[in-house]
Structure formats: structure tokens, C-alpha cells
């Protein structure tokens, strides 16, 4: 049952991430802006979910591991940083990484603390 829930969540999360990068590119920005947006949003949602504590396992599998896990990405983050470095836009690379760290970790922390910061072990 759990793998099916993970799959269903991912079927929604991954295309939403593609949509975000395409929207960013279409409005004349670097697609990395879209990745930044989904990483911030997904971290916040998972922060709330795990901060609440006592959330049923099937919700964690569907929304946490499946949806948030696939809405967000680490591989594209790393690839975009390397691409920006290779394009000799070191300032952009550093700025993008710093923005992801500050906003992405900040959003996860805010969600976690607002939800009560449960003594739960992250699983998503």
C-alpha cells in the first residue's frame, strides 16, 4: 500500500515541478527560480506535516514521501549551480545556492515550528 501512495503523490509532485521551471523560463527568468519556488514550498509543507507529529503513516507516504519528495529536488539544484558556475556567472551560482539555503531551510523551519515542532523523525 505504501509504495502505491508514494507513486500517487509523485505523479502530482514531479509534473508540478516541471510546470514551475517552465513558468519561470516563460517569464524570462532562469528556470532555477522555479526550482527554488518548489523547494521552498515543498520544504514548508513537509515541515508542517512532520512538525505536527502523529500524522498517519499513509498521509506521510502520500503527501510527504510522494508529493513533497517529488515536488522538490536536489539533483536539479546541484546541476543548476554547476551550470551557473560553468556559464561564468559565479555570483548567480552563489546567490541561487544562498537563496535556496536561506529560504528553503527557513520555510521548512517555519513550517516545523508553527506546527509544533514535534519530536518526530523526518521520513519524507
Amino acid at each position: 500500500m505504501t509504495p502505491l501512495l508514494v507513486v500517487v503523490g509523485a505523479l502530482v509532485g514531479a509534473p508540478l515541478r516541471l510546470l514551475a521551471t517552465r513558468l519561470a523560463a516563460r517569464s524570462g527568468h532562469d528556470p532555477a527560480r522555479g526550482t527554488l519556488a518548489v523547494n521552498v514550498a515543498g520544504g514548508a509543507v513537509l515541515g508542517v506535516l512532520l512538525g505536527l507529529g502523529g500524522v498517519p503513516g499513509w498521509v506521510l507516504a502520500l503527501v510527504g514521501t510522494g508529493f513533497c519528495g517529488s515536488l522538490t529536488t536536489f539533483s536539479t539544484l546541484g546541476a543548476d549551480v554547476v551550470r551557473l558556475v560553468e556559464e561564468r556567472t559565479l555570483g548567480r551560482a552563489v546567490g541561487y545556492l544562498a537563496a535556496t539555503l536561506v529560504l528553503g531551510l527557513g520555510a521548512a523551519a517555519a513550517g516545523w515550528l508553527l506546527a509544533g515542532g514535534a519530536a518526530a523523525t523526518p521520513a519524507g
Binding site: 509534473p15 510527504g64 546541476a79
Partner: protein
């Protein structure tokens, strides 16, 4: 079509990530090995993939949405990483949180670069 490829690829990647996390359960307050493993290997693989694709002109249209956005995007995750950093910090394990953050971010960027370099070197 790209969205469908991203969704299916994302489901495959998320299943793999779930499999790794099931095989490497994190003890309470422990080092999040599973997330670190998927994020570092996912970064290495996207480097290899982008290096291989750069040598193909034109690149097959399905490869980026399916493999990069879908499979590897769904396999790696920012949300679990972010909440793990927050949870470790909240639990007072600040050094572990900082070490995990550095290993993930620095390791991820270096893994992408290593994958790219390996793929470029392997090209005729």
C-alpha cells in the same frame, strides 16, 4: 507529453527513494543516511546524464523530462533534507545538522561536477 514523462519518471524515482529509505531507517536523532545517499547519487547521475546529452545533437526529446526532471528529480529530494536539518537542529544536534548540510550541499555540487567530467571524458 513532457508532463506525462515527468510524472511517470517522478513515480519511478520516488519509488526508488522510498526503497532506499526503507532499507536504511534513520534512528531518532541519527544521521539521515538514506536522504544523503539518494541526493549524492542522484547528483552524480544527473551530471553523467547532462554530460552524455551535451554530446548528442539533437538530444532525444524524452530524455530531459523523463530522466532529469522525472526519475532523478523524483529520486532526490530537498524537502526531506531541509526538515532533517531543522529536526537535528531542534533536537540540539547542531554539529550533526551542520555536517549533514555541508555534506549534502558541497557533496551534491561536487558529485554533479564529477559526473559531468566523467561523461565528457568518456566521449569520443
Amino acid at each position: 507529453m513532457a508532463y506525462l514523462l515527468a510524472a511517470v519518471g517522478g513515480a519511478v524515482g520516488a519509488l526508488a527513494r522510498w526503497g532506499v529509505s526503507a532499507a536504511l531507517p534513520v534512528r531518532d536523532g541519527g544521521w539521515p543516511w538514506a536522504t544523503l545517499l539518494v541526493n549524492l547519487t542522484g547528483c552524480l547521475l544527473i551530471g553523467v546524464l547532462l554530460g552524455v546529452l551535451a554530446g548528442r545533437s539533437p538530444e532525444p526529446a524524452w530524455t530531459r523530462p523523463f530522466l532529469a526532471v522525472g526519475v532523478l528529480g523524483g529520486y532526490t529530494t530537498w524537502s526531506a533534507f531541509a526538515v532533517e536539518v531543522v529536526a537535528l537542529t531542534d533536537a540540539g544536534a547542531v554539529a550533526a545538522a551542520a555536517g549533514y548540510l555541508l555534506a549534502s550541499v558541497l557533496g551534491g555540487v561536487l558529485a554533479v561536477a564529477a559526473g559531468l567530467r566523467a561523461a565528457r571524458r568518456g566521449r569520443p
